[in-house]
Symmetry: C2
Subunit: 287 residues, 2 copies
């Protein structure tokens, strides 16, 4: 495995592989890799000859400095995991490589960026869209793989990629969960024992809503109340939002259908967590 920090070097690598007729799969991450990321890597491998993983903790997408400072960093473990999984290139750009002196460009996706996570984290999705556009240019992949846990991020990136004409196929990997249902997240390591237990309320609520939907409950308000009820069983959980939304425009629906998505965000013991579930999907608890 090559560890590359320069976008020029990664660009030359990709150009030379492509000249040999190989296709490039790309998994952009912020490091602190876990089993969820490994599933993205596996999926990339099935869609491309070469797998490139980037680990760049992108300051632009943090709406507060403390969250950025506390974001976990596990460089050696990340490198080892990528090596073991047969990743071809670990792309680890420096901050000055990504945001050189005088950096002044912002990519904004109207509408999708200002609701849900965007309402709670102003500027977050501008940071995501900007860094992903740049990484897409740096790596120039044929396919890029993102996790379904970051549902809104996927919607923003799909829109950006289509609007700006990136010829990159966006693939979404199902959310990987702990045995008790908690969605894998790099932030989970920051949960203490109590908060870790309380955090299961998010997925418990989502799965309860899905069960109720299957049993015939389509009122979004009823489904939302059900999710909120599960989350509020612990005082450590502060609900940010719970909504049933349309999968395309992410706007709340009143009468839920099988393609609609239950989305939640909460602060659990000081850690912000998100999760979602498509009401009609039959993915099981475990990842």
């Amino acid at each position: 495995m090559d560890v590359i920090t320069s976008s020029e070097v990664v660009g030359s690598y990709v150009a030379s592989r492509r000249r040999q007729g190989e296709t490039i799969g790309f998994v952009p991450t912020m490091g602190a890799l876990h089993r969820g990321h490994l599933s993205l890597i596996e999926l990339a491998r099935t869609h491309a000859d070469i797998v490139i993983v980037s680990t760049f903790v992108n300051p632009l997408q943090f709406d507060n400095a403390e969250d950025f400072d506390r974001y976990p960093e596990t460089r050696l473990a990340d490198e080892e995991m990528c090596r073991q999984r047969g990743v071809h290139v670990l792309f680890r750009p420096t901050l000055s490589e990504m945001y050189p002196n005088g950096f002044a460009t912002n990519v904004h996706v109207e509408g999708l960026s200002s609701i849900l996570e965007g309402a709670s984290r102003p500027g977050h999705f501008d940071g995501v869209a900007t860094v992903v556009a740049k990484l897409f240019n740096n790596v120039d992949p044929d396919v890029a793989v993102f996790g379904a846990k970051d549902f809104q991020q996927v919607a923003v990136i799909r829109r950006m990629a289509m609007d700006l004409g990136f010829r990159i196929r966006i693939i979404v990997a199902p959310t990987v969960r702990e045995i008790d249902g908690l969605a894998m997240s790099s932030r989970n390591v920051r949960l203490d024992v109590e908060a870790r237990r309380a955090a299961t309320g998010l997925s418990k609520g989502l799965f309860a809503a899905r069960t109720a939907f299957r049993a015939g409950t389509t009122s979004a308000r009823t489904l939302v109340d059900l999710v909120v009820g599960h989350m509020r069983t612990s005082p450590l959980v502060t609900v940010d939002y719970v909504q049933i939304v349309d999968p395309y425009d992410l706007k709340p629906v009143e009468d839920a259908g099988p393609d609609d998505v239950a989305v939640v965000a909460a602060i659990v013991g000081g850690v912000r967590l998100i999760d979602n579930l498509v009401l009609g999907d039959d993915d099981c608890l475990e990842g």
Copy 2:
């Protein structure tokens, strides 16, 4: 010459040429081609094996609908000119190709976009940065050629391309002028006889400033007054701005140096014209 309207087709064309080891030069235009554009095409040819010209009148970069509606369109003449000059591909994307249903992405370059032309034409450079980012992805060139007449546009595009990691060399072609000094522009055809005569005040003023600078005048205020004086010899000219600016951050200077640029904008007989001149350059009047 191939005339291509689909970005997918132009993408396949470029990929196949590149596999054969050829390099791609790109000249993005809004059509209504004139001698200025031809000089861009010639320059592209000297830097690349294949020359692709796009003609797309980009609604996003017009700050008012009337200006958009009145922008000249000369499709058959454009096509003939490109053919005669040995252009390989004329890329003429449709509006729905460029801005599909639900289009929501905006590329913004902070700072550079809000001064000078940006102050007079709100949103103009967002439209430019967005369409150029998309065209860069559609065409995927090695080099792209822009005209020096649109000085601020070049600065915005350079910044955007560097910030977003486009591996495209930006080349700037000198402004081509009519015999009497008027900078070539697609908008010149909208000048009536009186306005056409009055319009020479812009370049006359700029060249007078350069002459004064060479003779030792470095006070920006004095140079600006000189330019304004030449422009105001006709009542048909309404000055928008005249400034001596730094070539990198485009901010006004007080004491001018040889790299600084005299920039002007004016409404002449109802037509908005811009022009500029590097004070230390020795390019002659004719193009």
